[in-house]
Symmetry: C2
Subunit: 321 residues, 2 copies
Amino acid sequence: MPARKLSEIGEFGLIGRIRDLFPAPEGVEGIGDDCAVLPQHSGRDTLVSTDLLIEGTHFLREDIPPYRLGWKSAAVNISDIAAMGGKPVATFLSVALPADLDASWMDEFLRGYADISGRFGVALLGGDTTASPDRICINVAVLGECPSGTARLRSHAQAGDRICVTGPLGDSAAGLKAILGGVERDADVQALIDRHYLPLPRVAEGLQLAATPGVHAMMDISDGIGSDLGHILEASGCGARIDVAALPLSPALQRVCARQGWDAAALAIGGGEDYELLFTCTPEAEKALAVPHTVIGTITAGTAIEWLGAGRSFHGFDHFR
Amino acid sequence: MPARKLSEIGEFGLIGRIRDLFPAPEGVEGIGDDCAVLPQHSGRDTLVSTDLLIEGTHFLREDIPPYRLGWKSAAVNISDIAAMGGKPVATFLSVALPADLDASWMDEFLRGYADISGRFGVALLGGDTTASPDRICINVAVLGECPSGTARLRSHAQAGDRICVTGPLGDSAAGLKAILGGVERDADVQALIDRHYLPLPRVAEGLQLAATPGVHAMMDISDGIGSDLGHILEASGCGARIDVAALPLSPALQRVCARQGWDAAALAIGGGEDYELLFTCTPEAEKALAVPHTVIGTITAGTAIEWLGAGRSFHGFDHFR
C-alpha cells in the first residue's frame, strides 16, 4: 500500500482517526465540538478549547500588526466558549518566537491580547515560551464554564428548527481579500479589515442564548457557514434549507462588493472568521428571542444543504486541501 | 532607544513581562508554577498546564521516531500535573503538520500518545489540527485536579527542609548526548536513550507526596535541577545547599560516563528532561516517606545554591540564550 499523505486524508479525516483512537469517557463531551465539556461535580461544567496559529499558514508577519494578532489570538478562543454558551474564565498562551524578534513585537502582541482579555474579564493564567528557528507559533488554550448540562452542542439541532446568525456574514473574508489584493483603504474597506483583525466574540449573546429554552445547536462561524453548518448537520443527523437572500450582509460589504465586482453571497457563505454565532431554535423560541439575530433558514429531515436562490453549491475550508 | 531582541531579554525576562501585564485573580495561582490552580468551588481545584514543541528547537524529525515523540508530548504534560501532586484528567492536542507528511507518521505519533495516556487513564478531549508550511508544531494542554488547597507549589519551601528527588538524574541528558554524538547503542546507552524518549511521569509518587503533611514545595525536573531548584528558591525566598556526591546516578549513566569520559555530575545538574519530582519536606516527614526518594541537600535561609563538593557552579537552560 503506498504511503498516503495528509493532503489525501484531509483535516476531517485526520480528526476522525484521532476520535476513533481516543473515545471520550462516559458523561464527557470530547472531540468534535467548539469545546470539550467536563462535569465539575458541583453544578457546573468546565469548557475547554485550544487553537494553534502558525506564521505562514494563519498570518503573515508583515501583514498583521502584532497588536491585532494578539487580540485575534485571544478572541478566537474566547469565541469558542461563547459558541457553547459559556462564560470564559482563563486562557493559557504558548508562544514559539525567533530569538532575533524585536521585544517590542511581543510587547504589542501582549497589549492586544490583554485588551480583549480585559474586555471579557478573562485571566491569562499560564502557558509556555520557547524559541522557534524561524516562524512564530502561537497556541491558546481557553477555559470557561457553564451551569451543568446547559452547553449548547452541535448535535442538538432538530428538524423544524429555525437557523439563525447573530450578525453580518462575509465581512472578515472581504477584509482579508482586501488586504491580500492591496485594495485602497477607504472607510468601508477599513471597517471590513477591522472585522478581520479585531473580531468581537459574542459572549453575552451566547450566555443569553444558552439560558433560553428552545435554543438547540450552537457554534461560532470560523470556517464559513458552508462548512460550519455542515458540522451541525452531521452531528445532529439533519439537513438544512438556506435562503441565500436572507443572509445578513453589512452595508460596508455590499458597497465594497459592488465597487470591486466581488460576489457578496460567496464571501458570506464560503468565507470564514466572522465569529458570529450560528444557532438553531424552535420557531416559538425564535419569536421571543431578545438577542439580535437573523433567520437564514430551516433545519430539515434531509441530509444535505439546499441553497435556495443560489443556483450552485458552496464549500468551506479544509486546512490540508 | 535601540530595539531589544528577545535574546537580550531571555525567557524569564519575557515571562516576567507577561506576569506584570496579567496579574492572577484573587484565590487563583497563575503564571510561574508547573500548573495554574483554579478553585472549582466543589472541594477540588483544577490544574492546567501547556507545552509547545517545535521541530528544529525541541526535536529533529529524522532523530525521533514518531511513536516516541507522541509519547513524550503527552508525558511531559502529565508530568506537570504530577509536579503539583494532582491527578491528570484530560489533554488537548494541537498539531500543525506539513501537508506532504505521511499519514503513517501521524498514526505512529498518535499511537505513542495513546499508549502513555492510557497508562495514566488520561483522555484526549480536543485540540486543533492545522497545516504548517514546513515544521511540525505540537502543543499539548493538560487538565488535572486535586483536593482544594493540596497542590504543592514552588513557593512552599521552608528553611531547614530536606531537598529530595524521586529518581536518578542525568539519564535523559546523557541519552540526548548519545543520540547527537552518534554513540554506539549498547544496552546501557539504549537505556539512557529510552529515558530521554519515553519518560514516565511520577503521577503516583506526586499524589502520595501531596497527601503527606510536611511535604512543602514540589516541581518536576524539566530544565535540570540547576535551573529548576532555582525556581523553587526564587518563589520561596530561600537558598539551598546541595551535596553533589548525593545526587542519584543510575548505574547505566555511571558506566557510559566512565567509558565516554563524560562528566556525570554536570549531566545530573545541568541536563534536563528527567521528569523526576524535586520536592522539599521537613526532616520528620522525610524519615516517614513511603515514596522512594534520595535526599540531595537542605533548604537554607540564604539566597543562593551552594554546591558542596563541586568546586564550580552550574546553570540550567534558557530557551532564548
